[in-house]
Amino acid sequence: MRKLSLLALLISFVAASSFAGGYQVRLQGQKQTGIGLIGTPLAFGASSIFYNPGSLSFMPNKADFSIGASGIFSKVVFQAKNSDYQARTDNPMGTPFYFYGAYKITDDLSVGLGVNTPYGSSSVWDDNWDGRYLIQNISLAAIYIQPTIAYKIGDKFGIGAGLDIVSGGVEINKALPDPVNGEFNLKGSTVAFGFNVGVHFRPTEKFNIGVDYRSKINMKVENGDTKFTEIPQSLQPYFPASGNFDATLPLPANLDIGLSYQVTDKLMLAFEFDYVFWGAYDSLIIDFKENNELLADSRSPREYKNSTIFRLGGQYNISDKIIARAGVYYDPTPTNEKYFSPETVSLDQIGWTVGLSFMPVKGLSIDLSYLQLSGKESVKMYEPDNFGGTYKSMAFIPGLGVSYSF
């Protein structure tokens, strides 16, 4: 019973403020976060379930458990074109979390289970801000449950695969422009499936190469709920107080390729690039179940493009009990020049990370990470609504995790 209520609590907090390109959230392990969010070529234990199931084969211990969460404090400021009007988001703290458990059945065969939140977004603008006809607030959350199996081929190769069972929900609030002048709420949830496969190659003791592919998952909401409120009486027949919709939001595929090299006994450096197939996000289509002459299905173009994230990081063993980490990455916006929507303010971003692991006793690691992201000040437009101006974003993300292995 206690476990159940904990899970419920976690789910209610999961909506993560958007901070990675689009609505992706890669804070799925504190050790990896500290090192520039690099994980594909690293065998840090159970958290490989997310970053590269193939790396699970190189897990140093028999069993490994890892749990953690981050607090995302993200802020966006907007200034309208040719105007002194400014608006700021009032985003709630995003709390992506993870839990991983992995176990070596034999020296070659490992199994594991991951529960994490690689996608999410939460933007809260003032209800009366200038962009209220595009978005007032949005919350998007997806919880992945990933049973995983990994197999080691010889000494040098590890392969792994996981099945992703994804439970997701979305809620959107926006205002309706004159002459309607009302409010619109949309809410829906769904379950969908995908997979995560990876290969880990260790040609020498010092050198690691990892390749991971996570599939696209179409979150198809069927029969979600719509609500129109504050509609003038004369228009109420056209904008029903309650109704239903279908919509699909793609969670894009990722291809991650990384290298790591143990430069000295104490220093390890790593490099990774992540190719994100954002091109899958073409448009947000809301298919109202019942249309009428004033209520047509809505199609909002997004036309995201694929993007490549570059990451560089390293870690240094200060002592047997303390490891320090640092990293940097560049995450270019996947958004389209013409269709930049304030619902997911995704600018070209630079992220700086630091991390620290403290190991008081053998097998136990307390992992801290801190990520600071700055989104480049940019002039952006959403042309279909002729809405735009200058955006700038920042995020501060401390994280805490614990892992235990034996």
């Binding site: 802020k75 105007s83 401390p398």
Partner: protein
């Protein structure tokens, strides 16, 4: 452990306080203009007239009032309007949206007279910066006594000017110059042709081109005599307003072939033709051989044509009881010739305005082109604007004057023209913060 926890939470609190700041912030500037005393001169559009009335909230959001608030951020002074206190207005006639039943017993939403007490035209007792006078034509601005309260009941003076005229024999321009403006706006001439157009070409005459040019020159001589800089707006194509484009000229709809056959039998001999579907109305036309004829493509019916007469009294069609057509009276119709007169007048006035803008070194607001854009549909921050009646958001229920959103659009055009001409940097306003037509 507890201490560490507290430290962690405080750290989070500190981070939470950090905010991104825009480096390229908006900087206010008056450029080489001086906005310390701004005076607006014009007609009902300048006054903030909307929904057939000048009332409190429409006046508060007049385009000069919006501009003045932005000027204030760049050295502008107070902007005083002849305040209307009531939401009903100075004179009767305000429209609002409501429900009414037509002659067939069908209830539908549309403009209905608002209920309220007119405030009257008692002088406000102070001088004002907004000298927009509803009803004023170009030459009225120069006419002594145009604001004499004694002249209002006998139709020799304007009640709106009577509210703030400084003397019985004051002129609008004289009062404007007396404010010693450093900056002025002028938008006048719509009524020089609107009276003609809105009466179907029979109730008023169009001010001649030479007269208009002469009056405008005198007005600008006076307004610039104190060294003031200014902005002038040209005139929109008024026949594009919803007042002239809402009732379709081919709104005589037949549903059965039998009806068309009957009409063709009786009226075909005059060259009229009828089909199932929409057909052109019959209108009175003294120049037609019969004194009436069918409308042709491009001709316009006014918003004021009585709908019940069209629906139940056979207006524009054929009355089977007397076996005769019932032409729509001329006062509700703009014929092709009348439309050409209106368009020629506006084109001529606008040429004058462009020349005078150059001569007096004024910023020129090309409202004519901008309203053509609106006609094709524009969108700002997700709100669509068009010349469509009621739902187009730009025009108020009288079909000629603007909504508060519409006036905000106009204010932004003025602001951009001022910025362009004088190297100023005034911020535009968010049009979505203003009201459009209020649906019940």
């Amino acid at each position: 452990m507890k201490f560490r926890y507290i430290l962690f939470i405080s750290l989070l609190g500190l981070l939470f306080a950090c905010q991104p700041e825009i480096k390229d912030e908006f900087t206010y500037s008056s450029g080489n203009a001086d906005f310390s005393t701004y005076v607006a001169v014009g007609n009902s559009l300048t006054a903030g007239y909307s929904n057939g009335a000048l009332y409190h909230s429409s006046q508060a959001n007049s385009y000069p009032s919006i501009i003045a608030a932005q000027m204030k951020k760049a050295g502008g002074g107070d902007f005083v309007q002849p305040v209307v206190n009531s939401e009903y207005g100075v004179l009767p006639g305000k429209l609002e949206l409501g429900y009414k039943a037509d002659c067939l017993g069908n209830t539908s939403m549309g403009p209905v007279p608002a209920q309220g007490q007119p405030e009257g035209y008692d002088p406000v007792g102070y001088t004002v910066n907004n000298m927009g006078v509803p009803g004023a034509k170009s030459f009225h601005l120069l006419a002594p006594g145009y604001g004499n309260p004694a002249g209002v009941p006998v139709g020799l003076a304007n009640p709106y000017f009577a509210r703030f005229a400084t003397a019985d024999d004051a002129t609008v321009i004289g009062d404007a110059v007396a404010k010693n403006p450093t900056f002025f706006s002028l938008w006048i001439g719509n009524n020089d042709v609107l009276g003609y157009a809105s009466s179907g070409g029979i109730g008023d005459t169009i001010t001649g081109q030479q007269s208009y040019a002469y009056y405008m020159n005198l007005i600008l001589q006076s307004l610039t005599s104190t060294g003031a800089k200014g902005v002038i707006a040209n005139l929109p194509d008024i026949s594009g307003a919803p007042f002239f484009n809402t009732v379709p000229p081919n709104g005589y709809v037949l549903t059965r072939q039998g009806q068309a056959d009957t009409l063709n039998t009786f009226l075909g001999q005059y060259g009229f033709s009828y089909n199932v579907g929409p057909n052109y109305f019959i209108i009175a036309d003294a120049t037609a051989p019969l004194g009436f004829r069918q409308m042709v493509k491009g001709e316009l019916l006014l918003l004021t044509v009585p709908q019940d007469s069209l629906k139940c009294a056979y207006w524009g069609g054929f009355n089977p009881n007397i076996m005769a057509p019932v032409p729509i009276p001329d006062q509700y119709v703009l014929t092709l010739e009348e439309i050409a007169n209106v368009n020629d007048a506006i084109e001529g006035y606008n040429a004058t305005i462009a020349a005078l803008a150059q001569q007096y070194d004024l910023a020129l607001v090309d409202i004519n082109s901008y309203f053509d854009e609106i006609k094709n549909g524009v969108i700002y921050d997700g709100v669509s604007f068009s010349t469509k009646y009621i739902t187009g958001n730009a025009f108020s229920l009288d079909g000629v004057h603007l909504t508060q959103q519409g006036y905000a659009l106009v204010a932004n055009q003025f602001i951009m023209a001022i910025n362009g001409k004088f190297g100023a940097n005034l911020p535009t306003v968010s049009v979505t913060n203003y009201k459009a037509n209020d649906l019940p």
